[in-house]
C-alpha cells in the first residue's frame, strides 16, 4: 500500500493511506483516501480530484463502520428450509466454499444446456455493471439489470437525455449558468448526480450571481438553500413546464428561432395524421422554404432565416404545418390560470418563472471561451426521480425538454449539458435527428424507436420502443401473467449490491415473485432481506476490500473540465478465510464459477469485447486470469501501456484533456433534436401491430403522443374525500440507498435529525387534530396501512405527507435497520394502471388518509 507523504499526519500511530473509491450510491464513485492503522481502516476522507473536489458525504466517510459490522457473513450458507417468504427462517447451514461454488456451477451448467435466458443477474453496483453484464451475456442471457432502481429512478431522465443530448444524464453548466431550475431532485444538497460537485459548485455559482429555483412539493435542503422554492402538487410538473412554454411562445414571443430552425425538427412539415410530409424522391422529411415558397428536404439549401416555423401549407395537395405551429397551437390551453388549477402554482408565479427563464436565456448572445465564440444560453434545467416516478412520466419528460429547446439551452455554455459526453457519442440518425452511439452507455438509444418484437427479456423491453429501462414490466408480468405474459420464468438468479426484496415495491408482492424463483444466489456481506430468499449465500467482499479498475463510469463533468478516471484499491482483508485469499473482487468468484461451469472462455471473449481490450492486453479465451490481471489489462488498454494497475496504485487517477467540441457539443454538432415527437406516432403504429400479433389485449398507449399533453396519475383522480393527502417519498443524504440502514452511525444521524419521521404541514395536521411527535396511521386506497411518527412543518405543500428513505427493514441479519423508519415501499402496490407504458416508470405518489393513532 502506498504511503502518501502529503497525507501523513502527526498521529500517534503510523498510517498507511490507500487510494479508494466509494460505491455506496450509484451516482458518483467519489475518490477517497483510506487511512489504515494496524491493518484496520480507521478513517476515510475525501481525496482532492476533479470529480468530488475533495468532498465526500457522511455515508461514504462512514463506510468502514459497515466494514467492521459484527453482522457480516463469513462463510457460504446453504438454505435448508425450502419454503421462502417474509419472516420465514431459511435455516442456514454453513458449507464449504468448494461445495457452494460447485453447486452453483452445476446449476448453471445444466441451465445453459436448456435455456440460458432463464438466468438473471441483478446488481446496482454501477462501477461493476459492465463486468456483471459481460458474465451474464457470456452465459447466454440478456437479463442483467439493476432491477429495483429502474422502477422509478431516471426513467424519463435517461430517455430525454438520449434524445436531446445523446447521453445518459445531463447536468447544468455551473461555470456559466445564470438561472438553474430543478424539478423533483435534491441536486446541490448532497443528493442527485454529481453529488459533491454540485454541492460545492451551486453555492459558488450563487455567490457569483446565479439564481437557483427549486420546484418540489417539500422544501428539501436544496430548496431551503435556493433563491426560490416553488411548492407544487405532486405529479403535475408537466403542466408548469407547458404553461411556461405557452407563455414564451404565445404571449411573450421569446424563443430561439435560429436554434429551432437549425437544431430541431420544429420546421419539419407535419400532416393532419401527425406524420412528416416526405420527399417522394428520397423519403426525407420536408420543410417549407418561405423565401422560395416551396417545400424542400430538411437538409437541402435553405437560408437560416427561411425555414417556416408557422403557417399552413399545401404540398402535393396535402395540407400541412410545421411541427412548431402544431406545438404552439396545442399548448395554448395551458394558461397560467389553468396551470394553477392543476398544479396549485399561482398564475403570477407561472408568469414570473416563464419571464425569468426567457429573459435570462439571453437568446442571440454569445460568449468567448478559449478563443471560440459560442452561443450563450445561461439557463439550465435539471430533473430527477421526483417527477419521473409518475404515470405521466414520458410526457413530463417531453414537456420539460421543450422548455430547454424553446430557448436553445442545450449543450452550449451556461445551459444543460449532456453527461458523460465524449466525442462520437452523438450521431446523426434517421430523418436528421440525433441518436447515440450504441457503445456510449450500453443501452440501445430510444431514437430511432426500436422495432418492437416478441419479448426476449424478462421485462419485455422489446415492447418499449423508446424506453431506456422497463423492469416494472417484469413485476407486472409475474403478477398479472394473463394479460401481460412473461416470456419465460427465472430459474437462477444472482444478486449483488441491490436489496431487491425490500427496495423494489410492496414487499409482499416482491416476496411472491422471489418465492417462485427456484434457485437464488446472493453475494452479500450481511444477511439482508434479499439474502433471506437465497438458496446459497456467498460472503461478499466489502467495497473497501475490492479492486475496481474503473470506478467512475457515469461521471465526466460537462463543460471545460478534464476527463478523469480512477481506480480503487483494497484497503482491508475480508474477515474470513477462503480458498480464494487472493480474491480482490466478486469478479474473482464469478470467474471461478464460470470455469467450473465450463463457460470461462466465453466470459473472456465477452470481456475482450466490452472492455475493448487491445493487442497484448487481450485475454486468451482459454486462459484463466485473476481479476487483478484483467484490471491491469483493462487500464493499459484504455490509457496506454504505462498506465498499469501499479501506476494507478501510486497515482489514484488519471486526467485527460477535453476538447471544446466535447465540452459544448451543441455549438458544433449538426444532428437535430425532437421538438415535435413525430416518431412516437410511428412507434405507436408498430407497437400496436406487434401487440395484436402477440395477442395482448390491454395496453395503455397514453404515452405515445407527438405533443406532450397532461394526463392525471391515478392519485389525481381518486374521489374519496377522506383520502385527501398525497403520500410521497424522498431521500436524505445520509439515508440514501438501503445499505446505510444497518450502519449505526448513519442511523444515529437519521434519528438526530428526525429523518425517520413523516413530515406534514402544520395547518393540515391541526385540522386532523395531529400534533408534532404524534403517531399516525397512513392508509392508501388499496387498504395498505402503516404507522409512523409525524414531524410538523410549514415548509411543505399542505396536500402532502412525506416519508424519507426506505424503512420497514425486517431482516434478522440487519438488526440495526430492522423496524426503523416508515415503510413507504409497502404502499407501492404494483398494478398495471400505475405504470407508464412508455418508459416503465412506476407511479409513486399515492392518495392516503391520515389519522392520529389512539393505541
Amino acid at each position: 500500500m502506498a504511503k502518501l507523504k502529503s497525507e501523513m499526519m502527526r498521529e500517534p500511530l503510523a498510517e498507511q493511506v490507500v487510494h479508494g473509491c466509494c460505491f455506496l450510491c450509484p451516482n458518483n464513485s467519489c475518490a477517497s483516501l483510506i487511512h489504515v492503522v494496524n491493518q484496520k481502516v480507521v478513517k476515510i476522507l475525501p481525496k482532492m480530484n476533479p470529480h468530488n473536489l475533495g468532498k465526500m458525504c457522511a455515508k461514504g466517510m462512514s463506510a468502514h463502520v459497515g466494514l467492521y459490522s459484527p453482522y457480516r457473513i463469513t462463510t457460504p450458507l446453504l438454505r435448508r428450509n425450502k419454503r421462502k417468504g417474509i419472516g420465514v427462517d431459511p435455516e442456514w447451514d454453513e458449507i464449504k466454499w468448494g461445495e457452494a461454488l460447485d453447486m452453483i456451477a452445476e446449476r448453471l451448467k445444466s441451465l445453459r444446456r436448456t435455456d440460458p435466458r432463464k438466468f438473471a443477474f441483478f446488481s446496482f453496483k454501477t462501477a461493476h455493471m459492465t463486468y456483471y453484464g459481460a458474465f451474464t451475456s457470456a452465459f447466454g442471457s440478456p437479463n442483467f439489470r439493476p432491477f429495483s432502481a429502474s422502477l422509478f429512478c431516471g426513467n424519463n431522465v435517461h430517455t430525454m437525455c438520449y434524445m436531446v443530448h445523446g447521453t445518459f444524464h445531463d447536468a447544468p453548466d455551473l461555470d456559466y449558468c445564470k438561472l438553474l431550475m430543478t424539478f423533483g431532485t435534491q441536486y446541490s444538497s448532497v443528493g442527485g448526480i454529481d453529488t459533491m460537485y454540485s454541492a460545492k459548485k451551486v453555492p459558488e455559482a450563487r455567490r457569483r450571481g446565479m439564481k437557483f429555483i427549486v420546484v418540489d412539493p417539500i422544501q428539501s435542503p436544496a430548496a431551503a438553500r435556493a433563491d426560490q422554492w416553488v411548492p407544487i402538487r405532486p405529479g403535475t410538473d408537466m403542466v408548469l413546464a407547458l404553461g411556461m412554454v405557452n407563455l414564451l411562445l404565445n404571449r411573450y414571443g421569446i424563443f430561439d428561432e435560429q436554434f429551432l430552425k437549425l437544431r430541431t425538427n420544429a420546421p419539419y412539415l407535419v400532416t393532419e395524421g401527425e406524420r412528416y410530409v416526405r420527399s417522394p424522391e428520397n423519403g426525407k422529411p420536408l420543410v417549407w422554404d418561405s423565401h422560395e415558397g416551396k417545400a424542400k428536404p430538411y437538409d437541402s439549401e435553405v437560408g437560416d432565416k427561411d425555414y417556416a416555423l408557422t403557417g399552413t401549407y399545401a404540398v402535393d395537395g396535402l395540407e400541412c404545418k410545421p411541427g412548431f405551429e402544431i406545438v404552439k397551437d396545442r399548448i395554448k390551453k395551458w394558461t397560467p390560470e389553468e396551470v394553477e388549477r392543476i398544479s396549485t402554482v399561482p398564475a403570477s408565479v407561472v408568469k414570473d418563472l416563464a419571464r425569468q427563464w426567457g429573459e435570462t436565456a439571453s437568446i442571440g448572445s454569445t460568449i468567448s471561451i478559449d478563443g471560440h465564440v459560442l452561443p450563450y444560453r445561461p439557463v439550465a434545467l435539471h430533473w430527477y426521480r421526483g417527477i419521473s416516478a409518475h404515470k405521466n412520466s414520458t410526457l413530463t419528460g417531453f414537456a420539460l425538454s421543450l422548455l430547454k429547446l424553446v430557448v436553445g439551452a442545450v449543450d452550449v455554455p451556461g445551459a444543460s449539458l449532456g453527461e458523460p459526453y465524449e466525442e462520437g457519442y452523438a450521431m446523426e440518425g434517421p430523418d436528421g435527428l440525433l441518436t447515440t452511439s450504441p457503445h456510449a452507455h450500453g443501452i440501445p438509444p430510444p431514437y430511432p424507436p426500436r422495432r418492437t418484437r416478441r419479448p426476449e427479456t424478462l421485462w419485455s423491453f422489446e415492447l418499449f420502443p423508446t424506453a431506456a429501462v422497463s423492469e416494472t414490466m417484469m413485476a407486472i408480468s409475474y403478477l398479472y401473467p394473463d394479460k401481460y405474459p412473461l416470456p419465460y420464468k427465472i430459474d437462477t438468479l444472482f444478486n449483488h449490491h441491490t436489496n431487491i426484496a425490500k427496495t423494489s415495491f410492496n414487499p409482499q408482492q416482491m416476496a411472491s415473485i422471489l418465492a417462485e424463483i427456484p434457485f437464488q444466489v446472493s453475494f452479500n456481506f450481511e444477511l439482508d432481506e434479499t439474502a433471506e430468499f437465497a438458496d446459497v449465500v456467498i460472503p461478499a467482499l466489502h467495497n473497501l476490500e475490492t479492486l475496481t479498475p474503473f470506478g467512475n463510469v457515469n461521471n465526466l463533468h460537462p463543460g471545460m473540465h478534464v476527463k478523469y478516471f480512477l481506480a480503487s484499491f483494497p484497503a482491508a482483508k475480508p474477515p474470513f478465510e477462503s480458498p480464494y485469499d487472493e480474491a480482490t473482487d466478486i469478479m474473482d468468484y464469478l470467474l471461478e464459477i464460470a470455469e467450473r461451469a465450463d463457460f470461462l472462455d466465453d466470459v473472456n471473449s465477452v470481456l475482450n469485447m466490452v472492455l475493448r481490450l487491445k493487442g497484448e492486453n487481450r485475454l486468451d479465451p482459454k486462459g484463466r486470469y485473476t481479476w487483478r490481471e484483467i484490471a491491469d489489462r483493462y487500464l493499459r488498454s484504455r490509457f496506454g501501456d504505462e498506465h498499469s494497475l501499479e501506476w494507478f496504485r501510486e497515482h489514484g487517477f488519471i486526467t485527460l484533456p477535453r476538447k471544446i467540441n466535447e465540452a459544448y457539443p451543441g455549438a458544433f454538432q449538426k444532428p437535430r433534436v425532437p421538438f415535435y415527437f413525430e416518431f412516437m406516432a410511428r412507434a405507436y403504429e408498430d407497437l400496436k401491430t406487434t401487440l395484436a400479433d402477440l395477442g395482448y389485449r390491454e395496453w395503455d398507449f397514453s404515452a405515445y403522443k407527438t405533443v406532450p399533453d397532461w394526463h392525471p396519475c391515478p392519485s389525481h383522480t381518486a374521489s374519496d374525500p377522506e383520502y385527501d393527502l398525497y403520500l410521497i417519498n424522498r431521500k436524505a443524504s445520509f439515508l440514501n440507498q438501503s445499505q446505510s440502514g444497518n450502519n449505526p452511525l448513519l442511523v444515529k444521524l437519521a434519528e438526530q435529525s428526525r429523518a425517520y419521521d413523516l413530515v406534514m404541514h402544520e395547518s393540515t395536521a391541526r385540522e386532523k387534530g395531529i400534533s408534532d411527535g404524534d403517531t399516525v396511521y397512513v392508509q392508501s386506497l388499496d387498504g395498505i396501512r402503516e404507522k409512523g411518527r409525524v414531524r410538523l412543518s410549514n415548509a411543505i405543500h399542505p396536500e402532502t405527507i412525506v416519508s424519507t428513505g426506505i424503512g420497514g427493514a425486517w431482516a434478522k441479519g440487519t438488526p440495526i435497520a430492522e423496524g426503523r423508519g416508515f415503510d413507504f415501499n409497502k404502499f407501492l402496490w404494483i398494478t398495471p394502471d400505475r405504470m407508464d407504458f412508455g418508459n416503465g416508470a412506476f407511479d409513486s405518489c399515492l392518495k392516503v388518509k391520515v389519522w392520529k393513532a389512539q393505541d
Partner: protein
C-alpha cells in the same frame, strides 16, 4: 476583530448558514479524524425551521465548541484539564480530567461531554473501530471539539469538518490575518454569535442567510 498582532494567530470559525444543507458530513469526518468513541458526536448539526419575510425556511445549525475567550469551562474545571491556547483554541487534556463534570454544567453551549460506556456503546460488542477509539480516548473524562488542533499543529490548514464540508459553509482561519478568509467574510456582512447572554465571549460566529442573499420566496398554497 483584533488587528495588529500578526505574529500571534487567533484561530476561529465562521459558519455561513445560507450554505449548510444538513448533510452531516462534518459529523462523520470529525468522528473519524478524532476517533470519537461509539456514538459520541462533538459537532452536532441541529435542523430547525424559521420564517423569513413570512416564508417558512428549513435551516441547519452546525454546533461545536465556541472556543470562548472567557471560557466558563476553564474557570469551572478543578483539575486544570481545560486551557485556552495562545492561538485561541480551547483544548481539553483528557489525562488531567477527573470526570468531575463541572465543565459540562458550565458550558452554555452543551459542547462538552463526559461519556459513560453504556451511553455511547449500544450492543456491548466492540468492533475494531471501537477498540481504536478507546486507544485514543478515555471514557468518563471530558471530550469536545479541539478545532483539530493536532492538524493545525502539523501544519495542515483546516480542521476535518471544514475540509470535507461539501458546501463550504464552514470557514476556518486566523481572525488576526487582515487578508485571511475570516476577515474577507466579515466584510460581506455582519456575523452573529450564539448566547451572548452567557458573557463567555464566544469565538465561533455565524452569518445569517439574510445577510448574504436577502431571504427567499416560495409561498405555500392554501
Amino acid at each position: 476583530m483584533i488587528r495588529g498582532t500578526p505574529n500571534r494567530p487567533r484561530y476561529t470559525m465562521i459558519i455561513e448558514l445560507d450554505r449548510c444543507v444538513g448533510c452531516d458530513a462534518c459529523i462523520v469526518a470529525c468522528k473519524s479524524e478524532n476517533a470519537a468513541p461509539g456514538g459520541l458526536v462533538y459537532d452536532p448539526v441541529r435542523p430547525f425551521e424559521t420564517q423569513f419575510n413570512g416564508v417558512a425556511k428549513t435551516m441547519f445549525l452546525p454546533l461545536l465548541c465556541m472556543h470562548c475567550d472567557d471560557a466558563p469551562c476553564i474557570k469551572a474545571c478543578p483539575s486544570r484539564a481545560l486551557r485556552k491556547r495562545d492561538d485561541g483554541i480551547v483544548i481539553v487534556n483528557e489525562d488531567l480530567c477527573c470526570g468531575f463534570r463541572a465543565c459540562v454544567t458550565a458550558c452554555p453551549y452543551g459542547a462538552i461531554q463526559v461519556p459513560k460506556e453504556h451511553e455511547i456503546f449500544g450492543s456491548g460488542r466492540f468492533t475494531p473501530l471501537d477498540r481504536y477509539a478507546l486507544s485514543r480516548h478515555s471514557l468518563n473524562v471530558a471530550q469536545k471539539c479541539n478545532l483539530c488542533s493536532h492538524r493545525i499543529d502539523a501544519g495542515r490548514l483546516q480542521p476535518a469538518c471544514v475540509e470535507v464540508c461539501p458546501t463550504e459553509c464552514r470557514i476556518f482561519g486566523d481572525a488576526n490575518d487582515p487578508d485571511g478568509p475570516i476577515a474577507k467574510l466579515l466584510e460581506k456582512g455582519p456575523a452573529i454569535k450564539l448566547r451572548l447572554d452567557a458573557k463567555s465571549k464566544p469565538s465561533v460566529s455565524y452569518i445569517l442567510p439574510m445577510a448574504t442573499r436577502g431571504g427567499m420566496t416560495g409561498e405555500v398554497p392554501r
